[in-house]
Symmetry: D2
Subunit: 339 residues, 4 copies
């Protein structure tokens, strides 16, 4: 950590700061410039509160050198994290396709789609039972009945299930669910993150609409620090000034997050673009860009889907897309080297 | 609602759509242009799912004419909402100052600050007991002990208390708290919003970092639709590319939200700027811009505050600021006319 | 165009509007709802000034149905535009690699890099002679001497040259340049765009940091409307809150712009990411996503480049990347269908 | 400047860097931490190219301590810059109102508005003769005829004139204009900035839609470094995800820019909000927030203005607004202390 002092700092305050740092076993290197004195703090600075130091009258600025996350940091865990669910491996060079409808609507619907996407190569069934909707008047999901239907689809196909949890109090209902999804709007619902940190369930953590890479990794850190190492990061678009697409898909997050962290990175082109016609090309781009997997909305009848119809592709489109993605992955899989 | 059809729409799909709309008692006005046919839908369109219509192959675009919120909409409730807590009135032309530390730290601290800010004209004491922190390693608040100390400060000063609730499960602990704050990161924690809708407690709802005015009003709508009419909107800065300030304070939200809605609008210059030196001028700007109140971080010893020190002002600065704000409010209070 | 009237509009103003529209040969379809009356305007509305109508007291909102650009619009020009420079074809299903240093520094440097990138498959040499730099104290390019060296590199390799023009007054110096680049900061320098519209030179038009797809297409429209049909669109990252990358690369612009327009779309992963380590994966993603080409910074000695060293890759990296891009293009080239 | 080295840096590269710095008379303070070595560079680092150092393999990150602008920096020029035009003083504690129509349309219009706004207290007449319009089909201004009419209005009222220059080649036409405006879209048109640096004309420099405070100050630096000290900074809204307002007005720029720089700061609430109804409250907020002035669009007949009608207020509204602004300024003018 680097502390930049204002010109002519008050000596008593400075002495106080230096003593306070020494008590915390921080070694201080001082550089005196013409306008600024700079303190280089050496030692375990992750426990120092940057805000506390910034607040001092004598301090102009404080800059972190070390990232504020440890468990999620590739520097301390150079090997890729691989999440294992039965025989399935997510991360470490594989390509995992999550597919399914936005919402579970009926047994026929979810089992039908599950069979179709499995036949095309999907390895995880996604589907919403609890739906976070901007409007209180929109369809909110089938809740516990939706969970039951997802488990029927699992029974019928053997596909592991990924579905969204919206509140820590719902955890008991998710006992048989394989991957718990935390939505973008809950990425900093710290009560939920702490509760998930106490489980061993794989968590698909979606990036918030205004979350930086560091924010996302700090939210992952909440889960990891709680004792649960099974976190999958998911980019689903950030909010920018562009309105043609629902959000702006930030694919540079793939090599960036994989440089900063050892956790798998999954891309959601459906929510990112909000338009079915854009999903295939962005899915292909994500695989070429090094994603560990994709989560794609597939619906047998998008025009009558209870939510997010415009961004869902049909099973037929998914089938031909999955074949192409595999071919791209064969070309690019060898490139994964992050340091 | 307006539906713009693609060129040469499939007649069978179009007939299906028209019939579906008629079943919902929607009257349709059709305009045929050279490239587009436009359907004007007249009737109660708030129950129509815009996504469902957008997903049809024959549809190029759907545009809402009516806002998707009702309870929060000034069109249906032209009079300002006034929140009453004892003799205190928030909204309707008054200026209410919320002040206090970011976090409750000790009885001495919170009671001392409460007395000071009351003497300067604050009408509500703010202070965090449950703190949402980006880092799992940062101070997370005193929890139930913090609540107890806030109630002691209330006892000592008579000031109503505003403090943040992070999860619906905490509700029983907040029984004696006067105003429940929902933080920016929880603005779309719908489980929490629904729980608050079932109480009668005033809720201070902070705008999320990437939330549009409409998103904020839809979150308010969750609480209002649940039966709780006591919602106060709060702007605390949005996230943009500018990094000098912690967030970008969007003061145009004041006349905008007051045009769209009848709910009171409060400004938080402390979190918006992240720098104590910018708080007084932005507080003055907010009052001149028509805010119903301010929520300001005040700490007797910012340099040793357990969080958010850099953005806290001292009781002395608050005292002179409050005097100036009152003078500005006297000039601008008569201007409030929204239609 | 759709005009939404306020409740109970003033009849005299409304009559005035209706007459004004009729004088412009616009047919009006009126839909009367419970709260709003909607006017559907049919005819050539592209000449109507949306601001003029919005300003009327009786008008609540105006929404365009037709895009405000014509020459750039795929609806009126369904076939892909293909830019031809000698035997080179840009657009229409080909993949064109632009490569070269940020700045021309010496004959040895530019000729050496030109030979290297040509051998690896680049079809256009890029290199800056006039450099837009944020700081007046940074290296501003070799100016006319840089142009001369670029032409020497063209002579030595046969590669067409793409370089940036910063002001209309520089046009005479660019007579032998093949492709004129308009930088992101000049995307709405309308004096420059108009001047380029009067030439026949292919123009590489970079998207501004805060420009929507429509803004970019309106800037292209300036050139096209002037009589120059040879415009290539280029995404180079937009500005968002994320600071890890220099900008945020928006690859969904590829299928979006190609749906809206017939113009070729080129991606610049170097400026978008600002980090050489991210360039190969984002280049691969862009090709998989359907880009018509890439513009990549290549420098034989990035650590001593006079500008933008951190984002330049070496000729060796470019060579292996180009091979991989070709393989990805072979898989994805057949998918290009936009309507 | 601080250079953070990667772990185990290559010794030869490091020696090369150290020698290169020494040749530039930079003193180096080295701090060795557990994971990072930090170099503190002391001396005149403003001439060092941060990109050049960042590009080195051994470097993890480089952080500037000193701002990259000198002439615009308050540290080196603690006194407020005051721009003098005849008896008018802009900056230094005064409040200057610029007012007038978006575009000059006729002699009657511009002279009439000039007289009206002068009577209400405006000190500068604004009006566009060359208009940057997003669409090539929109009204582009009256050009030289517009300049002539502005000068007639000056003759009739004595008000100095502020109007936009779009290209360096137009300079001769602006000989009698008092303040040259550089529009947001041209903020980084460096050819134009350099040309303005060679004049002595006051320049109103508008912040670009995606420009940080530092970017704005670097553009001012271009003009100042050229020898022209007369720069006025102008905030007119930045582009964010919010679409209700035309742009997002960032009033925290006022105390921020005045802390960083000695240049006057003027606010444009008309372009920032795009809605006439929001202009008065945001004008009041800007004055309370410490602005040195405002630039407001005033039109005698907004509904028939040739551009920007929706954001123009009438002379009557301006008149009552100006009175209120003066009263607010009387309260807040004493607060201006920046260090």
């Amino acid at each position: 950590m680097i502390v930049i002092l204002k010109e002519n700092p008050d000596q008593a305050q400075l002495d106080g700061l230096l003593q306070w740092l020494e008590e915390r076993h921080i070694t201080i290197h001082r550089s005196v410039g013409s306008h600024h004195t700079i303190l280089g703090l050496v030692g375990d600075t992750s426990s120092l509160d940057i805000d506390l130091i910034s607040a001092l009258d004598i301090v102009e600025d404080v800059k972190r050198v070390q990232e504020p996350y440890k468990n999620a940091n590739r520097k301390f865990h150079p090997e890729d994290t691989v999440i294992r669910i039965g025989n399935l491996e997510i991360g470490g060079g594989t390509l995992t396709l999550f597919a399914g409808p936005c919402s579970v609507e009926s047994e026929e619907q979810i089992v039908g789609i599950a069979k179709a996407v499995k036949a095309s190569g999907a390895a995880v069934l996604r589907g919403g039972a609890f739906k976070p909707r901007t409007s209180p008047y929109a369809f909110q999901g089938m809740h516990i009945d939706g969970i039951r239907l997802l488990l029927k689809a699992k029974e019928a196909t053997g596909l592991p299930i990924c579905t969204e949890i919206m509140d820590a109090s719902q955890l008991p209902l998710f006992e048989d669910i394989d991957i718990l999804q935390v939505g973008a709007r809950n990425m900093q619902n710290f009560a939920l993150l702490k509760a998930l940190g106490k489980t061993e369930k794989p968590v698909l953590l979606k990036r918030g609409m205004a979350a930086s890479y560091q924010d996302l990794l700090m939210s992952a850190e909440y889960i990891l620090a709680g004792g649960n190492p099974n976190v999958i990061l998911c980019e689903r678009g950030i909010r920018t000034f562009e309105t043609y697409t629902r959000n702006t898909l930030d694919l540079a997050c793939i090599p960036s997050l994989k440089t900063l962290s050892h956790l798998p990175v999954i891309i959601d082109p459906s929510h990112a673009t909000g338009k079915a016609a854009l999903v295939p090309s962005m899915a292909a781009a994500a695989v070429a860009g090094g994603a560990d997997g994709l989560i794609i909305e597939v619906h047998n009848d998008p025009a009558h889907a209870k939510c997010d119809g415009p961004q869902s592709i049909t099973p037929a489109v998914f089938d031909s897309l999955a074949k192409k993605l595999k071919r791209i992955h064969d070309i690019t899989r060898g490139d994964r080297e992050y340091d």
